[in-house]
Symmetry: C2
Subunit: 339 residues, 2 copies
């Protein structure tokens, strides 16, 4: 009582108070079933009284684990993609907590896909990484693998389908397929596509869902597709051209950003989304939710992605390590006024 805690109480303080050795306190915390019930109770009381919490640094040093998962924030990606990543980050933090992990955020030169990883890895600051920027292929994956780093990718290994690291991804083609079928069921048979440039794997994937669904229904894709930059302006121009040349009654877009461009074109022409022309976006961003009359949009199940990522992480970090290779999740469609 006399001794005011100089800093936080340590294992030794608890041991003294409970009249046991330090080791016994350690066991009480980490392997409680090793203790006799009455000893355990006594130690737990002492822990309670002193407000003892194990020092992380000491524990980390000893166990060579930090219970931290590194996540790199990409300074600025595509517009809606960024918002989606933030949503994923929220989910990841939540899910990680339940698994006893915290998320360490870091950043690095956007140019260098590997910046920031190295230091954290070598200084053993994190136990594992969650890699999210595989949209540009995944040099990080190969790089991390080479260094025997533990990681899970959100995003499949586009450029190397034979890669053996664990990943979780959302099936973009399935998403646009759902969107396209939704439109076909609504009676549309001239459904246009506005997507990204051909060098985007994700973009080509999403496009494939649209085209294969049209073909499966015996509908033509000829002249119905456009590949542009991911900006509102591009979506607007592309939709104007398509409306003039192909006369579609509906648009499926690779992003909400492009879909907003379509809505602009419709507004200019006095056409009403949902009534005259249907529009579907991708990512279910805030924009989709608040714009008039609501933008139907493909929604990635990012909460589930986080759950699967953490599950994979736990497998990798467990003893013995368990690797489950790839998990593909299916998106849903948030139907709103625009379709």
């Amino acid at each position: 009582m006399a001794k005011l805690p100089t800093g936080a109480p340590t294992l030794a303080d608890v041991a003294e108070r409970a009249g046991v050795s330090r080791q016994t306190v350690s066991n009480a915390v980490n392997n409680p079933d090793l203790l006799r019930p009455d000893t355990l109770a006594r130690v737990q009381d002492a822990i309670e009284d002193l407000g003892y919490v194990p020092n992380r640094a000491a524990r980390n040093l000893r166990t060579r684990a930090s219970h931290l998962v590194g996540l790199r924030m990409n300074p600025a990606q595509e517009f809606t993609a960024n918002a989606a990543m933030d949503r994923f980050t929220h989910s990841l933090v939540e899910t990680s907590r339940e698994a006893g992990y915290h998320v360490l955020l870091f950043s690095g030169e956007p140019q260098d896909p590997v910046a920031g990883y190295d230091d954290l890895l070598r200084s053993t600051a994190v136990d594992a990484f969650v890699v999210t920027d595989t949209y540009l292929g995944n040099p990080q994956a190969a790089w991390l693998r080479e260094r025997r780093a533990t990681f899970v990718a959100f995003g499949r290994p586009w450029d190397d389908p034979g890669a053996t690291h664990p990943w979780v991804d959302v099936d973009g083609a399935a998403g646009t397929e759902i969107a396209t079928r939704h439109l076909i069921e609504r009676g549309h048979d001239r459904i246009a596509w506005i997507g990204w440039r051909k060098d985007s794997w994700i973009g080509e994937d999403r496009r494939a869902g649209w085209s294969r669904t049209l073909k499966a229904h015996g509908l033509s894709t000829t002249g119905m597709a456009s590949r542009v930059e991911d900006t509102v302006h591009s979506g607007r121009e592309a939709s104007a051209v398509l409306l003039d040349e192909a006369r579609p009654s509906a648009f499926v877009c690779a992003s909400d950003t492009l879909a907003m461009g379509v809505l602009h074109t419709l507004a200019e022409r006095g056409l009403h989304p949902g009534r005259d022309i249907a529009v579907v976006g991708f990512d279910d961003s805030q924009v989709a939710q608040v714009v008039q009359p609501g933008l139907t949009s493909v929604r990635q199940p990012l909460e589930l992605v986080a759950v699967e990522v953490v599950k994979a992480l736990e497998g990798l970090l467990g003893a013995p390590p368990v690797t489950n290779e790839g998990v593909m999740l299916t998106p849903t469609l948030a139907v709103r006024g625009s379709s």
Copy 2:
């Protein structure tokens, strides 16, 4: 060459290779100017050769510092506020890195403002916190202060103006004042306000900027204000009522969400934002940027907030600790088609 590193190289490995003591290597890393140039060069070569990076856990244990800053993610706040927080988080990560800190994300029961802080604090997992949810008053601040925790608040101590902890905030009233003046300069003299319920300090602050500016210009605020929930629907209803009863030619809103509601009402009535009725939002969200014809909006300088927060953090964590009490930043106005 023969000895493949069993795990990472340590200080001792470098010392041996460079033919110096461990302490000298430590100095080479942390106080290079203590060494003779040639010794330093030799040690640095060895570090380079071995790819040595100091082990964080060991360093943390010894120095009682983690170089980690804790940031709690609020599961779900008001709609646009969440996006703003994400933007702040990005800036904070970036700025922290430059100061040698990483950001540790955690979460906690939304109900309990103090959840999650305690464990990180006592386990010395973080050196400091950045507290962002002061919009509900700041029980955390008092709580953290009591526990002698180091922290900086983003958000002033609304419920306790005498609080002495460091904080950084954006002057919401100044923001709406800029917005209102902008409208007055554009020739508007009937400017309505749509804001939040009276129990929101932030909301009242933003409202004050509007009302004081009108008064300063001899314009009336009577019947021109509405206090509602922060939803698109509420903004829409409130603006409809105001249009009918007060005939404003412009709206200033406490959020982009409310402003979107106004845009919906205008669309319903065939009125054109910017041409017939001006609208200004708050937070410069993505929505403001992509909606037709662009929503003029007050933009918080979150990058600067992050810089000031980190500056304050560095002060607090320095030796000796330096406390600079409060920093107030002024927002800017992103002018777009709606005004």
